[in-house]
């Protein structure tokens, strides 16, 4: 990654300067008597812009279809076929890139780096699923996202995990999202793309360590359904927010719930909210919970402050993820490495003509960004923890079976289990 990514235009200037200096290399060629004609290097074209637009349209169509299948048609079968299509198109054909999940980083970088230009295709991939989630729930996860789809197909023997594990795991995506944005915004790394477990499978080509990662995730997914989506996916966090307030979310039953309990085991993701046992809602618990709720609500700012303080304190440590910072520190702490001719990074730096002062200066700037970013990240994580803890004591009435609007992937499995027919 490094900082170079953003410096397209500067780079053009550099090229120009370079050619100015080495222009002498463009020297009259030999005059050939044998009629030899000089070939010119071939330049295979990159994928055309029109094809990029096609991708956006396919995404739009798949999203619409998925929403329609989940909400109107109520067809698990349809969603299954759509997800197979998505695996083939977005997965194997497009090789998992461009993808909405990774687009978060491009958007973050575009916000923080004035030199970086985000392409409209990536922006569309970032925004469209969110807009659909706002209206129809997470139809993107249902059958459009190739990462979700490949895991969804391999749900073999899902086990139901205790809710405390689930609730705790719910926090991980926030962490992942927070760090992904911090690293992207500081121009350090695109960790979402780097550790995308399935991209190696879609490309059928990757460092073998990454292929093992992908297989590990798939194996895990046989028992703990959709592990990446539920415990890691940073984009899922955004979709979750949008979906929570979605206008027309899918329902388990086409009509009135008769609380037959049949749908309860149908959801491999434990996303069905079951009615609360009214017996548990004694006046005493309600009072207790209200008290706790308010205490934890008051504690939220404290969480934010503590989080911000802690993470910004850790900025020195975190910023070492940045190659420039790492290199600068490495050379300060281990000056003897200069003589290590095998260390390419250091040797290349020494040959680049850049002075150590410049490197340290740049590294300090990046480090400061981490310090500032650390406050935001910590405050964000603190807020998330605070709200999550507080929400444990939310006393919402729940008397029917319905999907949790945030966590439901709209995969439509539960519908098949519902005995109720739609009234005409």
């Amino acid at each position: 990654m490094k900082n170079s990514l953003s410096k397209i235009f500067l780079f053009l200037i550099f090229t120009f300067l370079f050619l100015g200096v080495y222009g002498q290399n463009r020297f009259p060629k030999p005059e050939f008597d044998s009629g030899y004609e000089q070939p010119s290097p071939t330049k295979p074209e990159p994928r055309s812009n029109a094809m990029e637009i096609l991708d956006v349209f396919v995404l739009l169509a798949a999203l619409s279809l998925s929403s329609w299948l989940a909400i109107k048609k109520r067809s698990r079968q349809g969603i299954l076929w759509l997800s197979i299509f998505s695996i083939i198109y977005f997965g194997f054909y497009r090789e998992g890139c461009v993808c909405s999940v990774g687009a978060i980083q491009n958007v973050a970088l575009a916000f923080f780096d004035s030199g970086y230009k985000i392409s409209l295709t990536i922006l569309a991939f970032f925004l469209l699923p969110l807009i659909f989630a706002l209206f129809f729930g997470r139809s993107f996860c249902a059958g459009v996202c190739p990462l979700g789809a490949i895991q969804d197909l391999l749900v073999i023997n899902p086990i139901s995990v205790p809710s405390w594990i689930r609730k705790t795991l719910d926090f991980v995506p926030y962490l992942y999202l927070g760090f992904a944005v911090l690293f992207a915004a500081t121009g350090t790394d695109f960790i979402i793309c780097r550790y995308d477990p399935f991209i190696g499978i879609f490309r059928m080509n990757a460092p073998y360590i990454m292929i093992i990662l992908g297989i590990a995730f798939l194996l895990l997914g046989m028992f703990f359904a959709r592990p990446y989506c539920r415990a890691f996916c940073p984009y899922g966090v955004l979709l979750n927010w949008m979906s929570k307030v979605s206008k027309w979310h899918m329902t388990i039953t086409p009509d009135e719930c008769i609380k037959c309990k049949l749908c309860e085991p149908s959801c491999p993701f434990d996303a069905i909210e079951i009615p609360i046992d009214e017996k548990e809602r004694t006046e005493d618990t309600v009072r207790k919970n209200v008290r706790r709720f308010s205490i934890y609500a008051i504690l939220i700012p404290l969480w934010m402050l503590a989080g911000g303080f802690a993470i910004s304190k850790a900025h020195v440590f975190l910023s070492r993820a940045n190659p420039d910072v790492f290199l600068a520190e490495l050379m300060i702490t281990n000056p003897e490495l200069i003589d290590d001719t095998e260390n390419l990074d250091i040797q290349t730096f020494l040959e680049s003509g850049k002075t150590m002062e410049q490197l340290v200066e740049e590294a300090s700037v990046i480090r400061m960004k981490f310090k500032k970013g650390g406050w935001f990240l910590g405050a964000f994580l603190g807020l998330v923890i605070g709200v999550m803890v507080m929400n444990q004591f939310k006393m919402r009435k729940q008397d029917i079976y319905e999907p949790h609007k945030g966590n439901c992937f709209s995969c439509a499995r539960c519908m098949d289990f519902c005995p109720v027919e739609k009234k005409i």
Partner: protein, 595 residues
């Protein structure tokens, strides 16, 4: 199902084996070939070895590309097998599954929520704990970096026995220019070419303006001789940008710049610049009309693409100088240019693109026929004096100091002018006529931006991480007193009526006795100071980074007289004139006059 499962496993293990194999079989890593090559080297005519090598090499290459092919085919088969396996598994489990009534979760809602809450708390606290731990363990090694350190990183090991000879331009041999540059004709296209051929060192018949004229006009950075004192009277103390109170006129500037306006009689000058162009503008001081504006271009040696600068320096940071005949401007590109007061270009040249990671910011100062340019850059210290009529070099010295951002001041030493500069690592005085170093004191370090101050024979120099030193050049030179309580980072010291004022980048303004260093008072403000203070009309004027002008009585009491603001960011110094105050912000030039 079982079959497909085993098959998948088999292919997967084959693939992993192949990966491992490929690592080993790298075509050039083949040791057998290497030994053969060695043998060949000792026996270059041996055909047999050659054939052997060629065969082996061919084999190795074949093996390499086959294994790549195997990986590709293997992954397709694996994928296919995986799909079959998944399908088989799916069908298998689906067949076995019967619709059952749920056994009913044994989880109780509220108790389980308490557990969740506990675990969330634990994970939250763990993260905070880890972060704090990392924070306390992580030592910021970047802070350990020092210039001495940097020396270790320069790869040139210099052989002690080699004598290094530095190039010098002797004053005895003024630099000659021949007629050759006229051939390409760019250098002096719209000049008044009549006076150019006067040799630099010879005196001109022109009478130059002196100190009394400079006191009337704020003609350079920080006023006459750069001492930070204005002799104008009746300066406004109250205005308000939002309501327009006491704003006599306001005019938009074409390009931004951090330089301060300079004044000559009825005219006020500013420069500005960005990547696309650099300009010098002249306004009517009374009405605020633009009189002329010239682009700085067509200068031989000027870089096509300006060097990179930071946003808080830019390409037009140095303040111009005006001597009553001409106005001089220098830019971050190394271009230096002179116009007459009507906007005719007199001369221009490029001093070499400065190697400066923020951008060149040392301001110009002028005395009689000499224009002083402090030109320290990443390549080392340099100072030159140009002949004001033609821009030719009178003297040009390389100095053993590091890059700086401070500006030179002039000091009248018993009728002889001295140039005083503050750089890392020393403060030094130079003979304006010859460039000879008269004295120097090593007391500065770091990135020196504050210019020296002067009062009653004492030179004041300061920089953050160094010290505040009062230097008496006549006594040796000697440091008369020093202090390190408050050090300025950018803002320059100013001394007037026996009081020295220092403004820090973290918002402290402090006054000392100029002769003894005894502290009179200090004020702490919310915003820090990059701009320098100036004393005018018995009051100290200084603008902070938030755009608030602090007006403080320039005496031992330090009473705050007013804190007016324009509501716009500005870092430049104000220019003072009788009854008036001129102020430049990022976008506009203001004239302030009390009704």
């Amino acid at each position: 199902m079982l079959i497909s499962g085993i098959f998948t496993l088999f292919i997967a293990s084959l693939l992993i084996f192949n990966f491992w194999h490929m690592k080993k079989n790298d075509p050039i890593e083949n040791e057998i070939i290497a030994t053969f090559v060695e043998r060949l080297a000792s026996d270059p005519r041996n055909e047999e070895i050659m054939v052997e090598i060629r065969n082996l090499d061919l084999l190795a290459r074949k093996a390499y590309f086959t294994s790549i092919w195997q990986v590709n085919v293997g992954s397709y088969i694996l994928l296919f097998a995986g799909i079959i396996f998944a399908l088989a598994l799916k069908i298998n489990t689906d067949l076995r599954r019967k619709i059952t009534l749920p056994e009913g979760s044994d989880e109780k809602l509220f108790p389980s929520r308490i557990i969740s809450q506990r675990w969330l708390l634990i994970s939250g606290l763990t993260i905070i704990g880890f972060a704090l731990l990392a924070g306390f363990l992580g030592k910021d090694q970047l802070k350990n970096f020092s210039p001495q350190h940097a020396a270790a990183f320069s790869r040139d090991s210099i052989d002690e026995s080699i004598e290094v000879i530095q190039l010098v331009d002797p004053e005895a041999n003024p630099v000659l220019t021949t007629d050759t540059p006229v051939e390409n004709g760019q250098a002096e296209d719209n000049t008044n070419a009549n006076e150019i051929s006067i040799p630099a060192a010879s005196a001109s018949s022109k009478t130059y303006y002196g100190i009394e004229d400079f006191k009337k006009n704020q003609n350079t950075f920080r006023g006459a001789l750069g001492h930070g004192i204005s002799y104008s009277k009746n300066i406004p103390v109250d205005w308000d940008g939002a309501s327009g109170k006491n704003i006599k006129w306001k005019v938009a500037t074409t390009k931004s710049g951090f330089n301060s306006p300079v004044i000559w009689e009825d005219k006020i000058f500013i420069s500005g610049g960005d990547k696309t162009a650099r300009i010098v503008s002249c306004f009517d001081r009374h009405k605020g009309q633009l009189i002329w504006e010239k682009e700085v271009k067509d200068i031989p040696g000027s870089p096509a693409a300006p060097p990179r600068t930071t946003d808080d320096t830019g390409l037009a940071a140095p303040t111009m100088a005006v001597d009553g005949y001409y106005v001089y401007a220098i830019f971050g590109t190394g271009d230096i240019i002179a116009f007459d007061l009507d906007g005719n270009r007199i001369w221009a040249r490029n001093l070499g693109v400065p190697d400066n990671h923020y951008g060149h910011s040392s301001s110009l100062i002028v005395w009689e026929n000499k224009l002083i340019v402090q030109y320290d850059s990443g390549k080392g210290g340099r100072m030159l004096v140009l002949y004001t009529e033609t821009g030719e070099t009178i003297w040009d010295i390389k100095r053993p100091n590091l890059i700086s951002w401070s500006s030179p001041i002039l000091v009248d030493d018993k009728g002889k002018m001295q140039v005083v500069t503050s750089t890392d690592p020393y403060v030094a005085g130079y003979d304006l006529e010859t460039g000879n170093e008269l004295w120097k004191v090593e007391c500065m370090m770091g990135e020196v931006a504050p210019s020296p101050g002067y009062y009653n024979g004492l030179i004041y120099a300061t920089n953050e991480y160094a010290i505040l030193a009062a230097i008496d050049p006549a006594a040796g030179p000697a440091v008369v007193w020093e202090n390190d309580e408050y050090l300025a980072e950018v803002s320059s010291p100013v001394a007037s009526d026996g009081i020295l004022y220092i403004a820090t980048s973290y918002g402290v303004l402090v006054a000392y006795d100029a002769l003894t260093g005894e502290k009179y008072w200090e004020h702490e403000f919310n915003n820090g100071f990059y701009s320098s203070p100036m004393v005018a009309d018995g009051k100290l004027y200084i603008i902070d980074m938030g755009g608030v002008m602090h007006i403080i009585s320039a005496d031992k009491t330090g009473n705050i007289i007013g804190q007016p603001e324009l509501g716009e960011d500005g870092y430049a110094l104000p220019a003072f004139a009788d009854n008036r105050l001129y102020f430049r912000t990022n976008t506009s030039l203001y004239c302030i006059e009390e009704e």
